[in-house]
């Protein structure tokens, strides 16, 4: 092991994390989200849900420089690594914030892996505040490199990208498409006339998602000669680690909310946390979270300091995180009892975010299959 004992969390990064956490706390993210949910709860008759996007929050995030932490200095960013980005992603998860920042962090590492002139150009635009979404999945939602259903012919994209997260919050899309050489990455403005965004009706209230159809869209190549697949592979450890960090942050919120509830809710003349049938599963949530957090920090540190070990550590982190997401969501609702099952409870908001995150970039079973190949 050649990663630092403090996982690379130096004073600068700790300060960054604290600053962002404090900012999110002041933003009261769940309260801000609530009005947008009203009237949308009935899946049969309710109004279609509009993607909630607090543009002021995003503006302030950019003013704070959070969007640029991992963008190289040469492209106008702060030039920090995955450790710093992970610190931020964990706070996004903790506040269940609907924000283009999550995808911008992911895109940053994808573009850094591409390392081409057009990729650098896009990083510069991101440093200026452009938001970027990722259109990588085909209909089956699998992560194998050839799973995209989008074709690129003579620089024009045709077909549909599925499960595009936060498609309605981004200015620019990075699209994985099949070319004659394999897979390459392209960029296109979401507002382009040939691009149709068809919002999905999704469970998660804190993100939006869409199918994006390209009707012979003029797109600029970010990679050439089938290098897109290699670039996706190189960036995958970062994508997994950031998603796992989001889960860890959200799970810690679930833990604290459930513990707090068990201290105040009284049944049989006692706070329910007195009963071991309640106390022990809450402890099990903490244990799951602590394992995930340690693996997340190690994965981030490996990416920055010990790249040969980055893939293994990232699969470990997301394997643990996916299971923690499922477990903590499950226990947090169950232990809140009837109230936890209602629309008005905040635990349901986190529960649904975790249900989504669990499967992003592969669930625990997929991560472990990949890990086994490395062992």
């Amino acid at each position: 092991m050649t990663t630092p004992k403090d996982f690379g969390f130096n004073d600068d990064i700790n300060m960054l994390k604290d600053t962002y956490a404090k900012f999110l706390l002041e933003q009261k993210t769940i309260e801000a989200l609530r009005p947008s949910l009203s009237g949308t709860e009935d899946p049969y008759h309710g109004a279609p849900r509009q993607a909630f996007f607090d543009t002021q929050n995003w503006q302030k995030t950019v003013e704070l420089g959070m969007h640029a932490v991992a963008i190289p200095e040469a492209q106008g960013g702060i030039g920090m690594g995955l450790v710093a980005a992970t610190a931020i992603a964990e706070e996004i998860g903790r506040s269940a914030l609907p924000t283009p920042l999550s995808n911008n962090l992911l895109a940053t590492f994808l573009l850094r892996a591409a390392d081409t002139q057009p990729a650098k150009q896009l990083l510069e635009e991101m440093a200026e505040g452009a938001s970027v979404g990722l259109a990588l999945y085909g209909e089956d939602g699998s992560l194998e490199a050839d799973s995209t259903d989008v074709q690129a012919r003579d620089g024009k994209l045709v077909g549909t990208a599925w499960y595009v997260t936060d498609a309605q919050k981004c200015d620019i899309l990075i699209v994985a498409a099949q070319t004659q050489d394999g897979i390459d990455l392209f960029r296109i403005n979401r507002s382009d006339a040939t691009v149709t965004v068809n919002p999905d009706r999704i469970v998660d209230l804190t993100r939006d998602q869409a199918g994006v159809t390209f009707a012979s869209s003029d797109a600029e190549s970010l990679t050439e000669n089938g290098q897109g697949a290699i670039c996706l592979n190189d960036a995958l450890p970062a994508l997994l680690t950031l998603t796992a960090a989001d889960i860890a942050g959200a799970a810690e919120w679930q833990l604290q909310a459930t513990a707090d509830y068990a201290k105040v809710r009284q049944q049989f003349e006692r706070p329910i946390g007195f009963f071991q049938a309640v106390k022990h599963p809450i402890v099990d949530m903490m244990i799951a979270i602590d394992e995930t957090r340690s693996l997340v920090y190690q994965a981030a540190a490996a990416f920055d300091f010990d790249p040969d070990d980055a893939a293994r550590c990232a699969h470990l982190a997301k394997s643990s995180a996916s299971d923690t997401a499922e477990f903590c969501a499950n226990r947090s609702t169950q232990l809140h009892g009837g109230i936890g099952f209602t629309w008005e409870a905040d635990v349901q908001v986190y529960h649904k975010r975790q249900m989504h995150s669990q499967f992003m970039f592969g669930d625990g079973i997929w991560q472990r299959a990949k890990l086994a190949d490395l062992l």
């Binding site: 700790n14 071991q276 106390k279 244990i287 602590d290 394992e291 625990g364 890990l371 086994a372």
Partner: protein
Amino acid sequence: MSDKALSTEQAEFQAFCRAWLQENKPAPHSTPLPQAAYEVTDPSHLTYLTEWQAKCYEAGLIASDLPKNYGGHGMTGCQQIASTEVRAAGVPYFINWIGLGMAVPTLLECGTEVQKETFLPPIFSAEHIWCQGFSEPGAGSDLASLQASAVKEGDQWVINGSKVWTSLGHFAQYMLLLARQDKSDKYGGITYFLAPMDQPGITVKPIHKMTGESGFNEVFLDNAIVGDHLRVGNVGDGWKVAMATLTSERGAGVGVGAVAGESPMLVMEQVIQLAKDTRRNGRRVWDDPVWRDRIVKVYERTEASLYNGRRARVKALNGGAMRIPLQGKLTGSEISQSLHQIALGILGLKSSLYVGDENAPANGKWPLGYMNTYTGTISGGSSEIQRNILGERVLGLAKSK
């Protein structure tokens, strides 16, 4: 661990430990050692293991960071390194695990200067083997309900009662003893003693475990005598002192030497190898996706424990000083149990072959080891008690009792 953050002194010491362990690794004993120190009953094993511990102490691998007047080696930031290297070297365990793991931290925290100077050095050298007299037939998880009585007569105490699950009691020179001086006060009626074992008032009788092994005992205290100078802490403060001992037992203490034998990661690697070497239904067990998933899940948890250990020492990331350390005993023992369950599953019917059967894989190590994992999940506060402690002390939930 080759960490950049090591000082010159630490880096030199690490290199020394590695070289020393390589050179001094003892030849195996003529008969196989039990899997852990608490199962040793053969006197020739005791001699072999005592010599090994004494040698490690002399070399500075035990008590590395403690001051010289307590028998320490006066270094700084070196114990962690020594312990890590010992665990990674595939060398025998330290026989005096209760002395090192419990008596030392208790004495350091609560003992008098005279007690520290008298008792610490022979613990390090394994000259004095220690045992623990906490549990009683009627006081297990509810330890504070213990009934062994202590009555003051002049400058000594007369002890009556019985203790149970006393590992190494058959070899020990001293016992960490809890006894009750006041029946009317459950927690405030307990006093902590260092009891000499070699006296007519103490009888040790072995108990046999489900594995068939012994190593732990019932201890009868029949007018046993303990001098008042061997009391730790004030009369009635025994429960508080015991908490210092138990905190160490549960993995949250300071540590003066590696106690465990094989590291969990070493056992993990053996299990992966076992899956690769074992064929069933026409293929390697490792090639069965269901088994792969089960194995890699435990691998993930084993790795997580490793990095938990590191994160516990990073103030900005640990979520509070005790949050991770108090999980150590619970998760360590449960992961070890899962790991052994998986090994049995990989072996299938072969796991029925026990120690002494000529066809038993690894001489029955896996079924034996599996049964012995219950030592970890039951002793020193069962997993259920650990969850109470974590829920109450870390998360602030209402006390279950």
